[in-house]
Symmetry: C2
Subunit: 647 residues, 2 copies
């Protein structure tokens, strides 16, 4: 199917049938913003509902709904104010703006392509030769340069690492390879960092700066203590949040895949760093996934390895059970909603592409016409965020473990002579005291030795000047301790779902055309995720028909089953089936003369086009049961013979 896939036709169907469209299009639209119509929005909702059942309910997670507007202090702590940036440059004359890495990428790819065409034209062979002959729009562009093998290799190297360059490096590449605005041939400015968060001001004073959140995670972390208490202080546990996040892309592209406003579903699983096993690990251990480990990629290959999660964890390809468990659950979720398993792989991040907070990361990547796209990230954020927020606010964000056997140990401690210490160091006293108390045991032992022998000691305590301490100010003693509670900052394993990307992939994977008629497009949504569950088609009008129509739609809708009526008597039944197949509606009930005379209706299944006929209420119950997952079309066929198939 992928081979014949025509994205232009596909996208025009999505727009025509209002799955989603650029926002505010009657005002010319805004890049990177989309409105989801009746199909797109309900598909997204159903996807989220399945997600909630699969993760939040089945795994007993603590869901939250936090604020979108986030004060800058919080995002300074998380690192987003400093690091959540892309590089941009401008055309020096027209001021047109480019994302620097995309500009370099685009130009180098174009030069390689043009060089290939020009070479072919020169040699008289291949596509370039054809184009050179034809002239016109397809001809080898003027100024196309044949690249030396060395330059071409250099270009390929740059393209392979394009995600890893910082602004200075991009600036050097732009200078060295004379990258210009392709539209004007003007030079572009040095790349500057552009923060990707939308900012605003909270309240009327203008003094409180805020941002639209770039992820839902931070609102979960800052509530860690409340979540931990809600969970009766039991570890491990997870919180979860579904909601919109924002990213002020420099130049949005690739439809739903890179947008400025997007729905995320994020899980933060808090775990003891010493106990990364998972109580339900056994349930996923035997599942086979397509893995693409970092090692394989670093060796230059992108061949996936199929193995069981159990094997991957045992071989330390996947770091721990908890990570493995979530990879398995992510797989089960994606399969459940209808993602094609053969177009799904789990790719490990290489060390140079990891986010600033992550220590290990696996992406669930789904293949579409845009290539392999990250749709779910599963990162081990270690203790990064909780530690940073705790340090910044002074609030304890730790978990406690009661030790069955208390730990008894000796340790050196500082005993200060407060009467002398304060007056001696004045405003620095507190700082020096804290620095001494924070010293590791070995250093304390050294100081003790010097104080005991020489009666004084000069210590560099991270202050501008070394401090001289005398034995009248400080005694260092060995004391005995007993600890019955172990306190630790939990590590966080974070499966983070890009709902829009999953939804787009699902649309591509669900799309097909009827073998006998390429103009008849169908979306093969399964009955659980399909936005509209049942079409109701009256073949004639009149009171008898309306009564049946009302009974059927009212009964279905009262059971929470979305039903659509297509009663345009001007359109043929085939035409009506076709235009509703395009909305992915799995079932259609047709009301005809036999309904009026014998209370019988037909039920048609979308993909097979098979039909059965039965009593109205029997058919209604069949639809409700399938939608609720209590039955399937195959089950139904066992007790109901099919009529002749329609087309």
């Amino acid at each position: 199917m992928t081979k014949e896939f025509d994205r232009a036709v596909f996208e025009s169907t999505l727009t025509k049938r209002f799955f989603y469209v650029p926002s505010f299009s009657i005002y010319g639209g805004v890049a990177g913003l989309y409105d989801y119509g009746p199909i797109g929005s309900v598909l997204q909702q159903n996807l989220i509902n399945i997600w909630r059942k699969h993760f939040v309910i089945e795994e007993d997670m603590l869901e939250m709904d936090g604020a979108i507007i986030t004060p800058s202090e919080v995002l300074k702590t998380s690192g987003h104010v400093e690091k959540f940036t892309d590089y941009m440059c401008r055309d020096v004359k027209t001021n047109e703006v480019f994302r620097a890495d995309h500009l370099v990428e685009g130009i180098l790819e174009m030069r390689i392509e043009e060089s290939k065409l020009a070479k072919q034209a020169a040699s008289g062979e291949g596509a370039g030769a054809e184009k050179a002959k034809k002239g016109g729009k397809g001809k080898v562009p003027k100024g196309a340069v044949v690249l030396s093998e060395e330059v071409e290799k250099k270009y390929e190297e740059i393209l392979a690492q394009i995600d890893n360059f910082n602004g200075d490096q991009l600036g050097e590449i732009i200078k060295e390879y004379e990258i210009r605005n392709p539209a004007t041939n003007n030079e572009v400015t040095e790349p500057v960092a552009f923060n990707l968060m939308f900012d605003s001001s909270i309240g009327p004073t203008g003094n409180l700066k805020g941002y639209l959140r770039p992820e839902t995670a931070q609102a979960q972390f800052v509530n860690f203590q409340r979540l931990y208490e809600f969970n009766n202080k039991k570890m491990p546990f997870a919180s979860a949040m579904v909601g919109k996040s924002f990213r002020n892309e420099i130049s949005p592209r690739a439809g739903l895949l890179r947008v400025r406003e997007f729905t995320m579903a994020e899980i933060e699983h808090y775990v003891d760093p010493l106990k990364k096993d998972h109580p339900k690990y056994e349930e996923v251990k035997e599942i086979h996934l397509n893995f693409l480990p970092a090692e394989v990629q670093e060796s230059g290959s992108s061949t996936t390895v199929s193995m069981s999660i159990g094997e991957a964890v045992e071989k330390k390809i996947v770091n721990n059970q908890t990570l493995g468990y979530f990879l398995g659950r992510i797989y089960l979720f994606l399969a459940k909603i209808g993602i094609d398993e053969t177009r799904l792989r789990f790719r490990q991040h290489m060390s140079n592409e990891m986010a600033h907070y992550a220590t290990d990361c696996w992406d669930a990547e789904i293949k579409s016409s845009y290539g392999w796209v990250e749709c779910v990230g599963c990162a081990d954020r270690s203790a990064y965020d909780l530690t940073a927020h705790s340090r910044r606010t002074g609030v304890n964000l730790c978990a406690q473990e009661e030790l069955e056997i208390p730990i008894v140990y000796d340790a050196l401690v500082c005993v200060f002579n407060k009467r002398l210490f304060g007056p001696k160091f004045k405003q620095n006293a507190k700082k020096i005291q804290e620095a001494l108390e924070a010293l590791p045991q070995e250093q304390l032992a050294e100081i003790k030795k010097e104080l005991d022998s020489a009666g004084k000691c000069s210590a560099s305590l991270g202050l501008p000047e070394p401090v001289e301490i005398t034995s009248d100010l400080l005694t260092i003693e060995m004391q005995n301790f007993k600890k019955s509670v172990r306190e630790y900052t939990p590590n966080v394993i974070e499966p983070s779902f890009g709902i829009g990307r999953i939804l787009y992939s699902l649309l591509e994977h669900s799309y097909y055309t009827r073998p006998d008629d390429a103009s008849r497009t169908v979306f093969a949504f399964n009955p659980q995720i399909s936005p509209i569950k049942c079409l109701v088609l009256p073949l004639l009008t009149g009171p008898a028909f309306s009564a049946s129509l009302n009974h059927i739609t009212k009964t279905l809708r009262s059971a929470g089953v979305a039903a659509r009526i297509d009663d345009a008597s001007s359109a043929s039944i085939g035409r009506r089936y076709a235009r509703n197949d395009e909305l992915g509606i799995p079932f259609a009930i047709t009301i005809d003369q036999l309904t009026v005379s014998e209370n019988l209706v037909t039920l048609r299944e979308r993909d097979s086009c098979q039909q059965i006929r039965a009593n109205v209420d029997t058919i209604i119950n069949i639809v409700i049961d399938i939608v609720n997952g209590k039955s399937s079309w195959e089950d139904v066929l066992k007790s109901h013979p099919t009529l002749s198939s329609d087309s």
Copy 2:
């Protein structure tokens, strides 16, 4: 219950059990932003899911999910850039900011109260006298002034109209009555308009201004044509959207009732202005509501009238069937989720409080400890928005009606002599031509008369100068027309739900304390809306107990039923029931020795504290059926005798 209601205790329960808390509280919090915890967020979700089933599915509405970030052009057209403001003033010395109407209101209310206390202190009677004697915190404040009857009456009048003053009027009141910052006694500045939208900049150039949407409605209006087409061009129909909207309040107060970020659910029902009847009107006609019509309020009363929707529509108290239909559906929805019907009324807006776009408006107001609060607005926005967007963009936002009997009529039309007309008026030619074509028939008739008689005519066409037209340039002719399609801009009836306000009201209405122990608080959520459906309590630990525990929780959760385990063996069963009643969990399954020996468990209902005992799977199915609305506790008791009731 309301009488004994202690809001401080109530709110501390909400915070302690993480229903919702101020956002980013470890950073000191941000006024007007709240994070919903595991109970609050899922309660909100369930509320929205019931809303979706009740409205979107049962009424076959077209749901959308539009962008939050909205370009300023759209909100200029809707009137928000100009009119979505409150007035604020500042302390002239400290710069502290006040919302002007709230400041006036607060000060006048305080003066009236102080005057009352001072009068009582002087006369030696009442609360003021008590306070005057006691002194200390409760004493009559220094500087309390006894107001003359006339001044007090004036204050009362101002307070009654506080929502209706513009900035200048508020400024005059502030001057005339010497309103100052109560904390510093400094004067305050003239009130200035403050726009309540959060603004931001879209993209990297800084040239495209955007706002966070103040309502979801506009994203629906700008997509009207796509929605209409999706509905196969049938009228009437409705679109709907659920999502966050934003309002940069000057000084947020009253908890969830006035916040900066809130979830709305809005329906836009598009209807032919000539046909405001509703096909399902019969279904709600007999429902009795408590009405508070504008007329009653204008006569100074706030006594509600109970009558049927049918009667209210017939008497023109409610303008039309469609409005009446939605009032009925709103009532049914609120009753379904658990709002106390005796604390619900429908209040009509008086003409001076209507929003700029509305022609009629009814609010569903719910009574809580904050008084009567608007929770659902149901406005007739007429054709305001569609007309404005269409005019601004030039895009047709009309519906078409095929006329069964075409209309045949004669009309005057302009026939231009293009060869002469263009050269004569040059760059103004097009403008003049359009102005002439847009003239009403009477004016055309006059011009025709003059041209026919004098051969020329001077016409003021809305241009700076009158234009002289001669009969060689223009002929006005009577022509015959036949119209088989009637085109009109639909009117919009908009039920708009403030989800946070409904949720807060529901919390107050659901809250009670056990008659025998005021410290044991309970939330009486019904099984459909309750965030957690079932508590599972193992009374002992060990493998046999864990096996039952796992079986029960896994079965419930697989059926989508949220279950919580409380296995803290250190806490007594009574204590465990109590702390989970506080989360509103309707059912509790207890695992005890009889579970291990005979596979029996008990099931306890939260409000009655009644218990039954039965086989594990029987009990599980009872819970699932009640949660899915297929059965009720009363039904269950018919076939299962209760055990002795616990406390």
